[in-house]
């Protein structure tokens, strides 16, 4: 190679090495965007009408009204909070055996497959869809919400717990096993201490999620603050709706702060 032809500037390598693939992916993405954006039909007249409503919503947020619907809000919050506590406790209790069963290093294959199927079933559907089915079965009210959130908690906790158990340090399990420990003793002395800190963190995280979800299952009639919020919006009472949203945000932030505090204490 002659000196003149030798490159004297540096260009960073592209993210996707093959030029053909790179351009194919770029063009494909562009074509998809055009088609997908075409599916968005915007009704400009309705949008113009919405600007005024957005304004009123914004004004509602600046002057939230906690008092006008206080009894409704209090009942909704009571349902949401009790639902959060009960569903987290029951969900975690059920998820422990399922999670242990879904860990390949502790469970025999048939148990493993059954537990994995439970996890997959629970995780596939959004909480609100599950709530619809439970409302159809047990009627309106927070009990349906409790069942929904417990069901969702099982899938979430069991999956993460199983992954944690599969990641444990096998040397410790080996050491306990070599003392002649039974299966239960193995779980108690070798597995539990290793997964416990993360397990507690996950439980706290799930409290958080369950509260957030308890705010929406009410939209389909499963109790909680969501029903109150839906009613407030339907009645165009944006100041009450704003009050509910502010309460939700404050509680979630408080829960998040508290759980990060506890997790720091553990870790």
């Amino acid at each position: 190679m002659s000196i003149a032809a030798y490159p004297d500037t540096w260009r960073r390598p592209p993210f996707i090495a093959s030029a053909t693939w790179r351009w194919a992916i770029y063009l494909g993405a562009l074509a998809y965007l055009v088609v997908a954006a075409g599916a968005v039909d915007i009704n400009w007249a309705r949008l113009a009408e919405g600007v005024a409503r957005a304004g009123r919503l914004f004004v509602g947020f600046l002057s939230p009204n906690f008092t006008a619907r206080w009894s409704d809000i209090a009942l909704g919050m009571e349902e949401s909070l009790t639902m959060t506590v009960t569903s987290t406790v029951v969900g975690i209790l059920v998820s422990l055996p399922v999670g242990v069963g879904a860990a390949r290093n502790l469970a025999p294959l048939p148990v493993y497959l059954v537990c994995r199927a439970i996890v997959a079933l629970s995780r596939s559907f959004q909480e609100v869809i599950v709530a619809i089915l439970f409302v159809a079965m047990v009627g309106f009210g927070p009990l349906a919400g409790f069942l929904t959130l417990s069901f969702a908690t099982v899938g979430f906790m069991a999956k993460l717990l199983a992954e944690d158990i599969e990641d444990i340090d096998p040397a410790q399990a080996e050491a306990i096993r070599s003392t002649g420990a039974s299966w239960l003793q193995l779980v108690n002395y070798a597995v539990l201490p290793q997964v416990m800190p993360r397990l507690i963190g996950l439980c706290l995280y799930r409290v958080d999620i369950n509260f957030r979800e308890s705010a929406v299952v009410g939209i389909v009639g499963a109790g909680g603050i969501g029903a109150t919020l839906n009613t407030a919006l339907d009645r165009y009472e944006y100041d009450s709706a704003a009050a509910i949203l502010i309460i939700i945000i404050v509680i979630v932030m408080a829960a998040e702060y508290a759980s990060s505090f506890v997790r720091k204490g553990i870790g």
């Binding site: 309705r46 869809i129 079965m137 047990v138 969501g226 939700i248 979630v252």
Partner: protein, 272 residues
């Protein structure tokens, strides 16, 4: 070392001290009391006759769901496409909004730890604490029913998720590379482009695909409040008690979710 007296008088090893034991039992007792109290408050208005009836109800609904009305799938193709679009465009919107927020929230790239960072963190927490269905409820009020409300709802809900994971990735970068690029006399924008972006790109791609996967699930329900996608058909079928259509819709959602999970697993596997 915590010990206990064995029957023969010798001391044996225990995992916890007596005081720790008591404390734990007390904590469990508190939790149990809280649970019973919550349970009683929650179920004070429950009509138990309906609950006892639940197995019969479930069997009845199950019977009506089978067999699914397969011919309905023709009408589902468009809503399914809309659901995918809501998830994808919503995720794109979230990424566009979350990237600047993440850079403002990361301790090592924010212009001001005192003033800008708390605002960015507040945006991340506030958008995360409101569920996408509630965002959809608000946006349908403002924008009217349709796919657009769904896209924006999904987008706003995802800002917090993408922003949080991304700013944590930015805070964990290797600082030596930044210093090396700064030493060449690069401008701040060039430092971000050449020293920070290449380090967070894999994490960024992983986060985006992960959120897209979650958003597929979420976009299947925003239609329940009028924000487009397959949820609209679900709502309509539920209102007319067309359970054979409901079961087909649930199957369609299940298929889409499994597909997105497979895509997301493949992509994340290719990146890592």
């Amino acid at each position: 070392m915590p010990t206990a007296r064995a029957a023969d008088g010798a001391s044996a090893w225990r995992r916890t001290t007596r005081a720790q034991d008591l404390l734990r039992w007390f904590a469990w007792l508190l939790l149990a009391a809280l649970f019973v109290f919550s349970w009683n408050v929650m179920t004070k208005d429950t009509i138990w006759a309906f609950v006892r009836d639940a197995p019969a109800q479930a069997a009845d609904i199950g019977g009506r769901m089978m067999p699914p009305r397969w011919s309905y799938i023709v009408q589902l193709s468009r809503p399914l496409w809309d659901t995918l679009s809501i998830a994808t465009l919503g995720t794109l919107l979230a990424i566009l909004l979350a990237v600047p927020v993440a850079f403002l929230a990361a301790r090592n790239t924010t212009p001001s730890v005192m003033f800008v960072r708390p605002v960015a963190l507040l945006i991340i927490v506030a958008t995360r604490s409101i569920n996408s269905l509630i965002w959809a409820l608000l946006l349908v009020t403002v924008l009217g029913p349709g796919v657009l409300a769904g896209i924006i709802a999904i987008g706003l809900r995802s800002i917090g998720f993408v922003g949080k994971l991304l700013y944590e990735a930015i805070e964990e970068i290797d600082h030596a590379q930044v210093e090396a690029v700064v030493a060449t006399g690069a401008a701040p924008a060039q430092v971000i482009d050449y020293a920070i972006v290449p380090q967070i790109l894999p994490a960024f791609a992983g986060i985006s695909v992960f959120r897209w996967d979650i958003n597929i699930r979420e976009s299947s329900v925003v239609g329940l409040v009028g924000a487009g996608g397959i949820g609209l058909n679900l709502e309509a079928s539920l209102n007319t008690l067309a359970w054979s259509q409901v079961s087909l819709i649930l199957l369609a959602i299940l298929g889409t979710v499994l597909f997105s999970e497979w895509v997301s697993a493949k992509v994340r596997h290719a990146i890592i």
